[in-house]
């Protein structure tokens, strides 16, 4: 083994030249491309994370909206239930009132009709009785007023015990 000084210097020069050439024409561009790729991957990952966050927020929002809608629907149902039952109660009360009124009216009508009938009947019976009595007792009954009073009294007794 021996060190040949010119070889030594040549190797030094050759290596330095190779280094400079590689650095300029091969590695420099390669490193910048690798850096670019790294940045690209990073930006894409950031983007993906952002999109995921957005999606999560969106889902959360949707969930809230859904919850609100459900609540509202429940409230509406509850309200309508209440209204309907109130209405039914009202209708029922109205109907009852109406029925009571009609019944009362009917009762009153019946009573008045009856009174009217009774009155009529009494009048008629009185008149008829007087006629019969006058026909029978044409001569005997002279003073009309006295006789009529007598008949009325009699008939009152009859009407009091129907």
């Amino acid at each position: 083994m021996s060190i040949n000084i010119p070889s030594f210097i040549l190797a030094l020069i050759a290596f330095v030249i190779l280094y400079l050439l590689l650095n300029k024409y091969a590695f420099g561009p390669l490193f910048s491309i690798m850096e670019k790729r790294r940045e690209l991957v990073m930006s894409q990952m950031n983007e993906a994370a952002q999109t995921r966050d957005q999606a999560v927020a969106y889902v959360e929002e949707q969930k809230k909206a859904l919850e609100a809608a459900r609540k509202e629907a429940y409230e509406i149902i509850e309200q309508s239930k209440q209204t309907s039952s109130k209405q039914a109660d009202q209708l029922m009360a109205q109907a009852k009132e109406e029925a009571a009124r009609i019944k009362e009216e009917a009762v009153r009508d019946i009573a008045s009709e009856k009174n009217k009938a009774v009155q009529e009947l009494r009048n008629e019976v009185g008149a008829v009785s007087v006629k019969i009595a006058s026909k029978l007792l044409e001569k005997e009954v002279s003073s009309e007023g006295v006789q009529e009073e007598l008949v009325d009294q009699y008939l009152k007794e009859v009407g009091g015990r129907p």
Partner: protein, 267 residues
């Protein structure tokens, strides 16, 4: 062993095989890197780009394992160049070799210059019949090249230590006590020496064993079989060693740099 083809150019002894192999290695590394980064794409990287990015990430992990990535990212290109250069250089000597044999000093000429090393070999031992000159070998099987690489690391790490971490750099020579100064200085040069010599030794030994295995063929048919079997096993192992040494050299580079630029105040 084979001689190196050394010629003298204006009085300077130049090893042509080293020149050749350095150029070949640099060209191969540059072509691979350039092909891999030819059609760069963020979204749809090609196979070669993927491979290159794998290598980049490998070196990134290697750097992050030794120092803070914020400080270490400046050495990514350096680490990649080291690992690719050394790996390619280690493997170049494996598949084949180019050896020329010279039967006498007067035949050893190239580009009109005489090959000094061959002449010297004949002068030293006049009985020699022929001298083989190896033209194709791993550049890292030469101590000059590996020591040059180690020197780059040495100079770079000390330069960074002095400029970026001045106080700690000078303080660490006197730790834990002032009289440790000589030991600390020796340690720095030991680092330089071991880093270069480790690489050289591994690859050189690999090539020596390959040439020894090739010489087995002189034993006849059995020698050919043994040689072929041995070469298959040893070449496979040498690929492994080449990769490991490239890795070791690079990680040591990062460790040495981190030792120089990391301050130990925070402990």
């Amino acid at each position: 062993m084979h001689e190196s083809p050394i010629i003298e150019l204006g009085g300077i002894p130049i090893d042509l095989s080293i020149v050749l192999m350095l150029i070949v290695t640099c060209v191969i590394v540059f072509v691979i890197a350039k092909l891999a980064t030819r059609n760069l794409s963020v979204e749809n990287p090609g196979k070669l780009q993927n491979f290159m990015e794998w290598a980049v990430e490998f070196v990134q992990n290697l750097i992050s394992s030794t120092m803070d990535w914020k400080k270490g990212k400046h050495f990514l290109s350096l680490g990649l160049t080291f690992i690719m250069f050394i790996f390619v250089a280690n493997l170049l000597g494996l598949p084949f070799g180019i050896v020329t044999d010279y039967h006498g000093a007067e035949h050893a000429h190239i580009f009109g210059k005489e090959i000094v090393s061959v002449k010297e070999a004949f002068e030293k031992n006049p009985e020699l019949e022929e001298v083989g000159v190896a033209w194709w070998k791993s550049p890292t099987a030469d101590a000059s090249v590996t020591m040059a690489l180690a020197l780059i690391v040495f100079l770079l790490s000390h330069f960074l230590g002095i400029t970026k971490n001045t106080k700690n750099y000078f303080k660490h020579y006197f730790q834990p006590y002032w009289f440790f100064f000589p030991i600390n200085v020796i340690e720095q040069f030991a680092k330089l020496l071991t880093q270069g010599m480790r690489l050289f030794g591994n690859i050189f030994a690999g090539e020596v064993l390959i040439s020894v295995l090739l010489k087995l063929t002189a034993l006849g048919a059995a020698g050919w079989v043994a040689s072929a079997l041995g070469l298959v096993v040893w070449q496979g192992f040498s690929i492994f060693v080449g990769a490991i040494q490239a890795f070791v050299f690079t990680i040591l580079t990062m460790v040495y740099i981190s030792q120089m630029i990391e301050s130990h105040d925070e402990h």
